[in-house]
Structure formats: C-alpha cells, structure tokens
C-alpha cells in the first residue's frame, strides 16, 4: 500500500474586516493509492477550503501537503456540473486538455473511449442543455479524468441532484472511479453517502476544522454504494459517525 498524499498539521487562517478566522487547525490526513476517502463534516466547517488547498487554488497558513508522486496532478469536481453551455459535450470533455495545450490524438481517443464506455458517445455533438443532471455529472467526471489526475477531488458532487438521482449517480460515478483505478477524496455532509462509497471516512469537527475520528469502512460484503447501504454493518458506522458529528438541531 503506497501512500499518495499526506497532509501534516495543516492550518488555515482567514482574514476578514471583522477579524481573523481560524478555519482549519492541525489537520492530518493520509490517503493511499486507489483509495476512496471521504471527509464528513457539518456545513461551513472548512471542508471546501481544505479541497481548495489540496488543489492549489488556496494556500495553507501552516503545515504541509506531501504528494508521493513525481508531479501530482489534481482533478477537481464541484457541486455544480459546471459544463459550459456554449460547448458541445465532446468540446466540454476536452476543455481541460485544451487549457493544458495537450490535445493529442491519444488523448482524444481516450476521451472518446470513455464516452463510449459510459454510454454517452451518441450525445457527443449535443449541447449540455439536452442532458439530464446525472448525465451532466458523468460528463464532468470524464472531463476531469481526461487529464489523468493522480488524485480526484469531489466537493459535494451530488448536492444539486434530487434524492433518487443522487443514489443512482453516486453509483455510476463510484463505478467509473473504481474501474479507472482513481484515487479520490470526497467532501460531503451526507453520512450515508460517505459510508456507502468510501474505504476510509474522516469525521471532521466544527470550525476550526480538524480530524475528530477516522473509520476504515469494512463491510461484510462490499459492492457498489446502493448495495452497501443494505449491508449489516452500514447502520453501525452511520450511528457512530452521527454521534461524532454531534449535530444539535
């Protein structure tokens, strides 16, 4: 088991007119290659800030992030599918490669293969407004995978979907991630989503955000997320994490 990412004693301070806000304090996280890691925390606890720091869009105040690969490439997926309405599906998938000036025959073939594999090939010349929310989310994933990222960051990726599609799409996305052997870090506030999809769940405290507990998810019969939700040990993990989060309504 090779570690791919280590976050050591990470802290993040924000400066606003009203004063200084400590958003993340002494956070430690490890991620192994091929692993699906979830970070669960109540909303506003600084989870998205953490992902922004890992992606290099924001800078930590203290601590370090160590990638155990030569040139760590990060793929980032958001709540909104963020497809560009003026580009066709295929052009959307190539967007990241276009920005990196890396559109080669080989990469184009990879994108087309991914589209075929996940049954989206026939829509490749259509525009995003013709697709359902779930299809858009899958396109967004293919756009990210086209860049061959070492680590995939998912920021509440199913938030914009209704409950039914949320279950179905998380299944699809999980399937794609596992088939492509991707390492993924997902931020969510949905406990059942975290338990059903992950190999490891970090429970984060309220602000300032730090790791409260880590669970290695060992189900009796691990399969796809929808199936995992029916596992005997699923509720066990759910209850434990619920208590950890200490949600006061």
């Amino acid at each position: 088991m090779t570690k791919i990412l280590e976050i050591k004693n990470l802290s993040k301070k924000y400066h606003t007119k009203e004063g200084e806000i400590l958003s993340i304090q002494n956070l430690n996280i490890e991620c192994v290659k091929g692993e699906f890691v979830s970070l669960v925390g109540s909303s506003g606890c600084g989870k998205s800030t953490l992902l922004n720091i890992i992606a290099g869009l924001d800078k930590q105040s203290e601590g370090e992030i160590v990638f155990h690969t030569d040139k760590a490439k990060i793929g980032y997926m958001f709540q909104s599918d963020c497809l560009f309405p003026w580009l066709t599906i295929y052009e959307n998938c190539l967007l990241g490669l276009k920005i990196e000036k890396n559109i080669t025959k080989e990469n184009e073939k990879k994108v087309l293969d991914l589209l075929k594999k996940y049954k989206l090939y026939e829509f490749k010349d259509k525009y995003p407004n013709c697709l359902s929310g779930g299809m858009k989310q899958r396109i967004a994933l293919i756009r990210t995978l086209a860049l061959k990222p070492d680590i995939l960051l998912l920021d509440e990726p199913f938030n914009a979907l209704d409950y039914q599609s949320r279950l179905a799409i998380s299944n699809d996305v999980y399937d794609i991630i596992k088939k492509e052997g991707q390492t993924a870090i997902m931020v969510t506030h949905d406990i059942s989503e975290a338990v059903s999809m992950s190999d490891k769940v970090y429970v984060l405290s309220k602000r300032p955000c730090s790791v409260k507990k880590v669970y290695k998810i060992e189900l009796e019969n691990k399969k796809d997320p929808i199936h995992n939700r029916k596992d005997k040990r699923f509720m066990e993990y759910y209850d434990k994490i619920w208590k950890d989060l200490d949600i006061n309504v």
Binding site: A55, L57, Y76, F78, S80, C82, K98, I99, L147
Partner: protein
C-alpha cells in the same frame, strides 16, 4: 395532429393576425385623421403639415436637396460611432475586468459621466474638435461608449464563479480565462449591448447634427425649423423613424442569427 392541437395552433395564428391588423389600422386611421383635419383646416396645415404634404416634400427634397446624401450621412455617422463605441467599450471593459482596482478607482467617474446629459458638452466638443463630422461622431461616442462599457463589464462580472474556479483548477492563465469562460459567458450580454448601442449612436448623431452640420437628417430638421418650413421638419422626423426602425430591426436579426449559432 389532434383536434385540440389544431385549435391551439389556429388560436395562435388568429391572435397574431389580429395584432398585426390592429397595428395597421391604427397607423392608417392616424394618417387619415391627420389628413382630413389638415384638409378641413381644423388644424393649421402650415404648422402641423399633412401626410400628403410630407410625401410631396420628401419627393421634392430628393430632387433638389439630395435627400439620399442626407440619409447616407446620418446612417454612415451612426455606423462609425457604433463600431468605434462597441470596440472601445469591449476593450475598456476587458481592462476594467483584468484590473479590478482600476475599476474601483474609476467607478464613481463613470457613474458621473453616465448621468451627465451629454448635450451639455456639445459646445466644448465643437471648440475642441472643430465644426465637422469629427465632432458629431465624438458626440455620439460620448453617448454610447459609457453605457457599452458598463453593460459589457457587468456581463463579465456575472460570469459563474464555478466556471472560473474550474479553469483555475486546470491552471489556466488570464488570457485563457477570458477567451474560454468570461467572454463566451457574456456573449448574450454583449449582443444585447449591440442593440442598446445602435439606438444610442443614432441619438448621439442627431444631437451632434443639431449642434453642427452641413448634411444629415438632423441638419434637415434644424434647417426646416430655421426657414419655418414645417413640412421639411416633419419629413425629417418621419425619415428618422424609418431609419431607427430599420437599424434596430437589423440588429434584431443579427442577434437572432448570432444566438442561433451558439
């Protein structure tokens, strides 16, 4: 096709027909009443002119006063002002977007200039640029430029932040951000600013021609007033209505075509 669908389509057709015929009726009635009142001397035909007189005047203007030169001059000046205004507006909006501090610095000045009635600057413009076409186009630019800058700049600012964040996660540079997200996302705003700009340019050109000119529809109207020939004034106004309608409809068509392609 089901009966209900047919009825529905018929209803739409009848409604459209009704609207167009009432519009035609209004115009015809207006012209007819105007003509009759003028013929019966109920209104003073010398001051109010009449549709028949206007047609006669336009015909004679075309023979003696080179009507097409006037029309051409006004349209030409409008198009130049429009082209320069929209290009400058676009470039300045990009600069403001790229340099946010600059934008904040000049924002109050832009607001001030925008609310200032530009006609007030007319005399200064004439003195500075001379009494020629240049001052007319400057006048039109003053009127159309600020509003173009503000419209396009606001369009840029409204770009979805997630799109920018996504491109940043791809490590895009500033130019790539502009060409891949900010400008295409503001496409609709830019096109609707074309429509605003063409109307503003025409207003500017006519204002300019009122102040200083030897040719153009604005000149005809002012000339007509000076020699107290209201037939010429009315003809000028009627021509102006047609010109602005045609320019606006042209922009409408252009908008439809450009938006269809995307």
């Amino acid at each position: 096709m089901s009966k209900e669908q047919k009825d529905f389509l018929n209803k739409i057709k009848i409604n459209k027909f009704l609207i167009v015929s009432i519009q035609i009726l209004i115009v015809s009635l207006f012209l007819l009443i105007w003509q009759v009142l003028s013929d019966k001397k109920i209104i003073n035909p010398f001051i109010f002119s009449s549709p028949k007189k206007i047609i006669e005047t336009i015909y004679s203007l075309q023979q003696s006063y080179h009507l097409f030169t006037h029309i051409f001059t006004t349209v030409f000046e409008t198009i130049i002002a429009f082209g320069v205004g929209i290009s400058l507006g676009f470039i300045i909006a990009i600069l403001l977007y790229e340099f946010k501090t600059l934008a904040k610095i000049i924002e109050p000045f832009l607001t001030m200039l925008n609310s200032l009635p530009k006609v007030a600057l007319g005399p200064i413009i004439i003195i500075w640029t001379g009494a020629n076409t240049k001052s007319i186009i400057t006048m039109a630019l003053l009127i159309n430029l600020i509003i173009s800058i503000i419209t396009i700049y606001n369009g840029f600012l409204n770009t979805d932040t997630y799109k920018i964040k996504l491109l940043n996660s791809f490590k895009a540079n500033k130019l790539q951000l502009l060409t891949n997200a900010v400008i295409p996302a503001s496409y609709r705003t830019i096109i609707s600013s074309l429509k605003i700009n063409i109307s503003m340019s025409l207003i500017g050109v006519i204002t300019g021609e009122f102040l200083v000119s030897k040719k153009g529809i604005g000149y005809l109207i002012i000339y007509g007033t000076q020699v107290f020939n209201l037939n010429i004034v009315m003809s000028g106004i009627i021509l102006l209505i047609f010109i602005s309608f045609i320019l606006y409809e042209f922009m409408n068509l252009l908008e439809k075509k450009l938006l269809k392609e995307k």
